[in-house]
């Protein structure tokens, strides 16, 4: 393969071909089996060796897939599936029980340890775990879709945010905060929260819940998560009760979280 051809395939995989070049490329792909083979291999390498990507095979009927499917459908594997399901249920139940009963049987020394951890403002393992379970960053609305004009700054900020580069994302959110866009406020608060800038995040979420935006009530949910992250359980509970009694955003999740905190 020549360097030119290599560059062409790379541009195709990165979506950098013009419409005309793309059509020409697809035509060659369809009519040149050797070229098709090269592109497939390059595409697989490009996805499998990228830590953030994966190549999902699409071909549904090769003999090997069928052979595996036959084993999967066997009685032995059906039995294994049932065993795994049972063990999983047992393990999850054991973990919950452990979490509920643990404080009752904890030794004085352990309690003292927790108190000291609390005093140095370090979140408990349970709070940390619950925070990770409930934060659900992938459910956030997209900044790009909601923007009325194409703001390249915000596109960049969202990319940085998704790459967990919160400090650089926060810099852009702060620059764009006077826009009439509640989602920017939300992203700004979450970036601050992820960076442990607790007071700033609290102010941002308060500004959101005190605003006239349609998303205003989300401010309560994220303030609850913020307090969960800094292990201020009393405040978390107060906010969650406000959410459930007013049927604010995520009231079902708030109820679920309240049960977990009991």
């Amino acid at each position: 393969m020549s360097l030119e051809e290599d560059i062409l395939i790379e541009k195709f995989l990165r979506g950098e071909l013009s419409e005309k070049e793309h059509a020409k490329f697809l035509n060659r792909l369809e009519n040149d089996p050797l070229f098709h083979e090269k592109v497939t291999l390059e595409s697989q390498l490009s996805s499998f060796l990228d830590d953030n990507d994966w190549y999902s095979l699409q071909n549904e009927n090769p003999a090997e897939v069928k052979a595996y499917e036959e084993i999967i459908a066997s009685d032995e594997i059906t039995e294994l599936k049932a065993i795994l399901k049972d063990i999983n249920a047992k393990q999850q139940k054991a973990n919950t029980t452990k979490r509920i009963n643990w404080p009752l049987y904890a030794s004085a020394a352990l309690i003292a340890l927790i108190v000291s951890l609390y005093l140095i403002m370090r979140p408990s393992v349970t709070s940390e775990k619950l925070y990770s379970e409930y934060i659900s960053l992938s459910d956030l609305p997209s900044l790009v879709v909601r923007s009325t004009t194409t703001n390249t700054d915000l596109i960049e900020a969202q990319k940085l945010f998704e790459a967990k580069n919160y400090s650089e994302a926060l810099y852009i959110f702060r620059k764009n905060i006077d826009q009439k866009n509640s989602t920017v406020l939300l992203y700004k608060g979450i970036s601050e929260m992820q960076l442990d800038k607790f007071q700033e995040a609290e102010n941002t979420f308060k500004a959101l819940s005190n605003s006239d935006y349609i998303d205003a009530e989300k401010g309560y949910w994220y303030r609850a998560l913020l307090n969960l992250k800094r292990d201020s359980i009393k405040q978390v509970k107060t906010l969650l009760h406000t959410i459930t009694s007013n049927k604010y955003y995520n009231s079902n999740k708030a109820l679920e979280l309240l049960k977990e905190l009991k």
């Binding site: 360097l3 390498l45 060796l49 994966w54 459908a73 594997i77 294994l80 795994l84 399901k85 063990i87």
Partner: protein, 187 residues
């Protein structure tokens, strides 16, 4: 019998006592990884069960040896299944797969082929020595050429492109020499 072989046999023989030990020793680590990577507890439970199924089905068809230790291998399989899941949801809109017929079984079967291919590529990349390995790692993780120029101290992006081209050709040559490659070619 090595520990690796012991656990593979326990899975192949549906030994619930030993499988329970696998859960106790490994599930927490997998759950932590998934929670840190945009997942929920329920995702961790699903991925963990799929990983154990994947390993068992593969072992039943073609008994294989694990080159690291069993726990590390299980964690890698879980990580790869989660990568697959995350990328599947991203590409969901453009996927037109038939979701009705035995989709879950087919998904496990395909995930075995994907895992085998990933192992071939990853192991071959490890065979590459010196700067080539560094360059390829950066290239496949979509680092811009400007960054490759800076890290490798090259004179220009043209030089970086040529180096990537040569290193990639070397990698592909080694992959094609591997007997495992022929089985993958047809897919």
């Amino acid at each position: 019998m090595s520990d690796n072989q012991y656990f593979l046999n326990a899975l192949a023989n549906n030994d619930s006592k030993e499988i329970e030990k696998l859960y106790e020793n490994n599930f927490h680590k997998v759950k932590k990884f998934i929670l840190q990577n945009n997942g929920q507890s329920i995702d961790a439970e699903d991925i963990f069960q799929k990983a154990l199924l994947q390993i068992t089905v593969r072992y039943k068809k073609e008994p294989f040896t694990i080159k690291t230790n069993f726990d590390a291998y299980l964690f890698t399989v879980c990580k790869n299944l989660w990568r697959k899941q995350l990328n599947k949801s991203k590409k969901w809109v453009t996927t037109d797969k038939d979701l009705t017929h035995n989709h879950e079984d087919q998904d496990i079967a395909l995930s075995i082929l994907e895992q085998k291919r990933w192992e071939l590529f990853k192991e071959t990349l490890e065979l590459i020595t010196g700067n080539c390995k560094i360059i390829l790692r950066m290239f496949f993780n979509k680092k811009p050429y400007s960054e490759i120029v800076e890290v490798m101290n090259y004179n220009s992006e043209t030089v970086a492109r040529q180096r990537v081209f040569k290193c990639k050709a070397k990698l592909i040559e080694l992959i094609k020499k591997d007997k495992r490659f022929n089985a993958l070619k047809e897919l």
